[in-house]
Amino acid sequence: MSFLSLVVKNPFRNKTRSALAIVGIAIGIMVIVALGMVTGGLKNSTQSTLKAGAAEITVIQTGSNSFGSGGTINESTAAEIQNLSGVKDTTGILRASNTSSSIATTTSNSSQSSFGTGGGLSITGIDASQLGLLGIDSLNGTSFTNTSTNQVIMGKTVVQDLNKTVGDTIDLYGQNFTVVGTFETGSFLTDAGIIMPLATLQNLTSNQNKVSDILVKVTDNANVTTVSNEINNAYPNQLTTTTAADQANRINQGLSFIDTASWAISLLAIFIGAVGVINTMIMSVYERTREIGVLKAVGWTNRRILGMILGESIVLTLIAFVVGTVVAVVGVELILTLSPSVGGIITPSFSYDIFLRAFLVAFLVGVFGGLYPAYRASRLSPTEALRYE
């Protein structure tokens, strides 16, 4: 028998008590891993909004919300902005929301679903040649033609949520549209939308020659902030600009808040778990006082006894790490599978640092939880320990 196998064996002398201690720590680890996977996934998605080729600046009417909804700009403004220095390309887009409840399908295997309980389907109208400015650089299928009145392309999230594929049809604004292509940009906002020709959406929403946003791509050597200020100065009190970096920062700020909150929850759970480990180990040391006396009598050093108790504590928390991690991974995958609308938005991150963080937390809880009981055990007087009843 090796010392290690003794350390691994000992925590299971009282299975119920050890199991409860493991559950306590595993809950904390589960929270750390699950929230880490989710927020990590959202962060990755945010980074995708900054991908090369996409527009760096979005121009909206002053006073409208950050995605251009609620205000319109003359389509010709895009051409005017194109003439400003540092601007490489511009295009006007119209964002709308299909609030119609008649999302019908023509294929037998398609399911009907109401996507986005708040505003229905997010629909964007854009010139087919400018899809790159939305970050769409490849399509499964083909793109729509600008003159078509019944063609759309769909983002990955909508595809999953409505169970659509290329060739299926969808009812939007009372008209049947054929899905000619699907795309995935990595941005959960873009991937949650349907895209059609600008003119078609303008007609459907009675917004002829109007756009809600103008996407601006700057030249290679231009400074995004400088160009953004230039646009603001050219259209004071009329237009407002947002850069992709600003958007990403805003989302990241929100994610940082979630991150902080998840840490706070995790720390609380870990604290409760650590108290459980200390309690378990102190009880174990009390119960084994006589045995520790015997170990001292047969020549075990204080350091070996300290190592044994500390090792047992670490074994408990490492088992909790495994249990918590498995439950978190399976739980997150299960929730995302059972809820396609959430699953489409979040692709969980399996970054090693999430698991490393959870492992370190478990290890440190094991060390700190076991330190005091181990110290007590190592300092026991052998004669008193042997007399203990």
Binding site: M1, L6, R13, L295, K296, W300, T301, L386
Partner: protein, 223 residues
Amino acid sequence: MNNTGNIIEIKGLKKSYDNGKIKALNGMDLEVKKGEFISIMGPSGSGKSSLLNMIGALDTADEGSIKVAGIDLMKTKKLNKFRSKEIGFVFQMHNLIPNLSVIENVEIPMFETNASSTEMKERAVELLKAVDLEDKIGQKPTKLSGGERQRVAIARALVNHPSIILADEPTGSLDSKTGEVILNLLKDLHNKENVTLVMVTHEPYVGNMAERIVTVLDGKAKI
């Protein structure tokens, strides 16, 4: 051990507890030759167990001198090493670890030696054969009878080839028949392994099995 052939040399050893109110040892003198089998007898509270604890370095004395296996226990700091190398304990209540198998219990003292897992196993098996428990190697102590448990404890005490076996009432929790078997076993192993045997007992028939009886009274040896 010195050139007198004594493995234990105790002179004027004193030990008190409770701020001097209880004098457990009050000028104890004792010499034990290497390979000797002695019984320490005396009434309850006379200082028998305290003496055994001093010899086994489980406790330290207040005054006097105590040399065991050539080591001055009043001076050495490495008491764990001394216990691991020189002493084997047999307790009244056997004190086996319940979640470990018989063989694992016997191996426990060997963790402080440089023995490999194979060496540990071989030595433990050898001793379990000697105490006639070869067929119980994988069993947990809870499945054994009182006598069998004490035999495991004896094997554990001998595993590191100690110079001295200290047995504190080794038959105290056993019936007389089983007790006799254990005593004969201890005596046999004492002869075979050439180990000094110091046994504390309050039962005269047990004490009489030793080569010499040391009676302890009021913390002093009355030879």
